[in-house]
């Protein structure tokens, strides 16, 4: 979802087990803070706080946890908060981190929604939002481009075809997501599996 999806493993690996796990309130506050700091995506801030500041996980543990949350459906960073909190403090820790991540920005967003419902048609605000929308779309295109580069470099025809197919089916034909994914996911997993077996053999 963001250009920072592949965290680099540069920090020295400090054993995380020696550090006392933080309490529930500390978890809630830590995730609330990184959530509010994370304009346009929380992942960079989450990684900095978890690995570098609190040293709750090593860089490898973070990457593993992130990979797990990335291949599962749903908002990655939200999944990450739950898994991360639960590793430290069980299910209660997971819920504390989850609530910390979501509660403050949800409240902010609700207030913004109320303001928008009342003043969204005011001409000036509407113009400002139109400008922001254009820039936001540009940012999204940049993220797509960055994520696409490794694929283009490796020139995997099947991956590129699948990418194009999903783009056309969803973006142009506007088919429902479920239908497209029910076809595309098995095809992609099958193709990846066969390709890797061929490479290994």
């Amino acid at each position: 979802m963001s250009p920072d999806s592949a965290p680099a493993a540069q920090e020295p690996d400090i054993p995380a087990a020696q550090v006392q796990p933080p309490g529930l309130l500390a978890l809630f506050l830590a995730f609330a803070r990184m959530s509010l700091a994370g304009f346009g995506g929380v992942l960079v801030f989450a990684r900095r706080a978890i690995v570098e500041q609190h040293r709750c996980m090593t860089a490898d543990e973070f990457n593993e946890t992130f990979a797990l949350c990335h291949f599962l459906p749903g908002p990655n960073i939200v999944n990450l908060s739950m898994v991360f909190g639960a590793r430290l403090r069980g299910i209660a820790g997971g819920i504390a981190a989850f609530a910390g991540l979501l509660l403050p920005p949800t409240l902010i967003m609700t207030v913004l929604a109320i303001i928008y419902a009342r003043f969204g048609n005011v001409e000036v605000l509407s113009r400002i939002l139109a400008g922001i929308s254009c820039a936001a779309v540009g940012l999204l295109i940049a993220v797509v481009f960055r994520m696409m580069t490794p694929l283009l470099k490796r020139m995997e025809p099947i991956a590129l075809l699948l990418m194009l197919g999903v783009f056309l089916a969803i973006g142009v034909v506007r088919l429902p997501l479920q239908a497209v994914l029910l076809v595309a996911i098995p095809v992609s997993i099958g193709a990846t599996f066969l390709l890797r077996r061929k490479v290994a053999a």
């Binding site: 700091a37 995506g41 599962l72 139109a130 929308s133 994520m147 595309a184 599996f193």
Partner: protein, 176 residues
């Protein structure tokens, strides 16, 4: 969908959608647009584009565009219901799966599935960009702004917030 109780429509829509949202929130935008604008007529095209802009500009995970959609449908209860429906089910799935696979790196399936999902989620995000561009980029100046931001964000590591604010300023000045 059940049209009599909008809360249930929100919960079932986003709960189901989250389970299919591979690749995170940006990949789910086309489906949100399809359901909120085309299927249920909860919002207009312009309102949806505005909601996306607000979600990008605000702190917190970008998935919180669902909070704005939920509010448009059913006020504050709708905002909370949509947010929880989008976030809680998959977080619980992630919790149980992480307990099952205590050491995810030992199995090669997570890596394989992840590699297989990458092109799909890029395709989904490209579709998001196209759908949003169709509702925002209606003038040549707007198309130019989008293109410039795309190029600048691709080649530099500038904080995205500045680009969004620049877009807001240009909008305020009436240029785009």
């Amino acid at each position: 969908m059940n049209n009599e109780n909008p809360l249930w429509a929100l919960i079932s829509t986003f709960g189901l959608m989250s389970l299919f949202a591979v690749g995170g929130a940006a990949a789910a935008v086309p489906e949100m647009h399809r359901i909120a604008v085309d299927v249920h007529h909860w919002m207009t095209d312009k309102q949806f584009a505005d909601a996306y802009a607000i979600a990008q500009l605000s702190p917190g995970p970008n998935v919180l565009i669902v909070t704005l959609i939920g509010y448009a449908v059913a006020g504050i209860p709708g905002a909370l219901a949509a947010t929880l429906a989008m976030c809680l089910p998959t977080a619980l799935v992630a919790y149980y799966v992480s307990r099952l696979l205590n050491r995810p790196s030992q199995s090669r399936w997570p890596a394989l599935i992840q590699a297989a999902l990458v092109p799909l989620s890029i395709g989904l995000m490209a579709a998001s960009a196209l759908i949003l561009a169709q509702s925002t980029d209606r003038t040549i100046a707007a198309v130019l702004l989008t293109a410039v931001v795309a190029v600048v964000a691709s080649i530099s590591r500038i904080n995205p917030l500045w680009l969004l604010l620049a877009g807001g300023l240009l909008g305020f000045a009436g240029i785009v």
